[in-house]
Subunit: 429 residues, 2 copies
């Protein structure tokens, strides 16, 4: 921190589709999170429709209360896209035809062997003296302009265009203006099995291992996983790596076996890689999760070599039949003995190196306070069958999410040589 007062930022989302709720405003949360990840704080959010009067009023209010405004949407070619026009009006300047961007658009259409419709010309009209913000993947050009005492950054509503422009154009400019060290890095850990308050208390004080508050700790809970985020600032990547190293190590030590993946990697990806590394293959048998365990793995790149078969069935007789087990009075319920037998049989039947069975005995009756289910899980390999039994409380959807995650995590633990039955915060002992 260089001691400058924190920059105040507003996100201003425009468009009838967002205002009427026709689409959920994920752009807002995306922008706010990305700014938070580099230590910039959003102070205010505004949403207005495609309406001249509201837009002008919103721009003027934002110009008075913050230092920087990120405007999203309204840069398209149609008549209800009003951002450039109202920006010029609020800034008290003319709209000027931008030759450079018009040539870029022409090139964009030419490369796609399409004719540029006349309406697209509108997208090259920018407020006078606006700074162009490049959009390498679309025809909506971004721009920055001063309105009142605030700097306004106009971005497109199409998510992938917004994401790229925010990362490449807007955030660097905000960081430069904020007078902070401009290099920043976000380190992420994904954990499963610990509740948010447990993770919070386990990691208490971990930031102090880095000097000068250069590492900031944050969390994001999306059941059943928790994401732990370390935001690091420094003069360059080497400086950042040096500051991050002791904190990063300590987080790994404290969360231990519960870390399922880091950064852009995912639990299902880790499972697949571990299997691929040993030229293994996998069969999955599931009941109440209804194909949701298979659906996490089967679509991944490279899964075709590893994912051998997924089987979904409902009652015990169907489960037995599906893996070629005869009718039997033994193991006739969705409990651990059946899970073991089914995992073994599925492995034999498919020739996979690993077979996972996850059977769930759901409590009867409507979802209520003490509603839950019992999960019986077995992983069969040539050598052994590892098992886990767990009882969870919660509504059907909650249980389903938790069970899918537990199945994948047990498989990860088994493949990594970690205990598959370590107690987790979400289960009832």
């Amino acid at each position: 921190m260089l001691g400058s007062p924190a920059m105040r930022i507003e996100i201003l989302c425009t468009g009838d589709e967002v205002l009427t709720g026709a689409i959920v405003n994920t752009n807002f949360s995306y922008i706010s999170q990305k700014l938070g990840d580099v230590g910039l704080e959003v102070k205010w959010g505004t949403t207005v429709g495609d309406d001249r009067e509201s837009l002008l009023q919103a721009f003027r209010l934002a110009a008075e209360r913050v230092d920087a405004v990120i405007v999203n949407g309204g840069l398209g070619p149609t008549v209800d896209d009003l951002s450039q026009e109202i920006a010029a009006q609020a800034a008290g300047v003319e709209l000027v035809f931008n030759e450079e961007w018009f040539a870029r658009m022409a090139e964009f259409f030419r490369r796609r062997s399409r004719v540029m419709p006349p309406s697209n010309r509108k997208q090259a009209m920018l407020p006078a003296r606006a700074e162009l913000l490049d959009n390498p993947i679309g025809t909506a050009c971004g721009f920055a302009v001063d309105i009142g005492k605030a700097r306004f950054f106009f971005t497109p509503g199409v998510p992938r265009e917004l994401h790229r422009m925010l990362e490449e154009q807007v955030i660097p400019r905000l960081l430069a203006t904020s007078g902070r060290p401009t290099a920043s890095f976000l380190k992420r850990f994904h954990s499963y099995g610990l509740g948010e308050s447990r993770v919070d208390s386990l990691l208490a004080g971990v930031e102090t291992l880095a000097p000068d508050g250069s590492v900031k700790l944050g969390f994001r809970a999306h059941y059943p996983q928790i994401e732990t985020k370390l935001t690091v600032r420094g003069t360059d990547m080497e400086d950042i790596r040096r500051k991050l190293a002791p904190v990063e190590q300590e987080v790994r030590k404290r969360l231990g076996n519960f870390i399922v993946a880091e950064d852009d990697r995912k639990l299902e990806g880790v499972v697949l890689e571990e299997l691929a590394r040993r030229q293994g293959s996998l069969a999955i048998v599931e009941t109440f999760t209804g194909g949701a365990v298979a659906a996490r793995l089967a679509p991944l790149p490279g899964a075709d070599k590893v994912f051998r078969r997924g089987i979904v069935a409902g009652d015990p007789a169907q489960v037995r039949a599906a893996v070629g087990l005869g009718a039997s009075s033994a193991a006739s319920e969705l409990t651990l003995p059946l899970a073991e037998a089914v995992a073994r049989a599925a492995r034999d039947q498919t020739g996979a190196t690993h077979a996972l069975a996850i059977l769930i005995e759901l409590d009867q009756g409507p979802d209520q306070i003490d509603f839950g289910g019992t999960i019986s899980l077995a992983i069969a390999t040539e050598q052994q069958v590892a098992t886990r039994r767990s009882r969870m409380l919660g509504g059907r959807e909650w249980l389903r999410l938790g069970a899918v995650e537990m199945a994948l995590d047990c498989l990860r633990r088994h493949l990594k040589g970690l205990p598959v039955d370590e107690r987790i915060d979400f289960e009832k002992v």
Copy 2:
């Protein structure tokens, strides 16, 4: 319409988790949609954090520019829940202890055999002269109070508590104030296979079959389905039914076979009901969709009697093996002949009355403009095998969503005696 000027409404969302993007603000779109469904229009959206100064400023700005404000969040028992306190400050009144709500909370905890923490007392402190809005499922009581010339409605951030309070308490009050006929009804049609612009032009003018603009037509696209909404206002339900009837019939006639379900019913539910009605049962074999077709059906109430087995496999040899077909040089690709053979075999193997096979040959290479896949679909019954082949363009995720919907819709069409191969807007001929 009674000719009164449209009521201006603002939605004001509070809370650091929403402002920082830690959670996506689905409450905003939910409120806005629900108001739109009864013909009320949202004019402005504001988001601020758990911060006294911002909240006060936001309340004052809203009080000046609109007639009604729905505030969401900040009614909890913790110190960062500030809505009641700032509401009282903005309204220029004291906070007053509400005996009635305190007794309700005490009862709430007693029924759950829990002791009420002292911090919960805070939730019974309301601005003087506030009107209580009942929350039958939580401890955060809602309230309505005037600030400036606007009526403010305070609602809890927990989605299911918000949903109920909005429906039972807030919307009836807004409709009463707006001076409109207070009875309203929302009729919904879910369609698959027609793009939004097609549905729009097919239904052009359909509202005019009802008198006096009493029926309003709207759409909501959530690929691959489109929802068509008819909002009807009237003096009572009989009046509404009379006005709706001709429009409803005309929509059914124009969208025809493409309507997959109406109102709260869903495509997968219709499929399940049709099968259950004829005491049928189902086996599903899928490849690239990775269990996602099964996952739409298997978790539904009553599915255990119908859903016999789901099988997921990757390459042709695995698909054949999974349904007990021997190796063969014929039908060795994920094309229509294999889909037919697999559907027949899956039916034989599982004893189900119906078997669905959906195999997808994906284009090779990275997602790009002309990337796509070819879907081969077969439905086997005792009498026949119905098939459909379809080529779609789009990225992997887009294809997956489209293929899952097509599989379920073909099954619906087959069960309803409709053509399974009717051309849809999303396919490339």
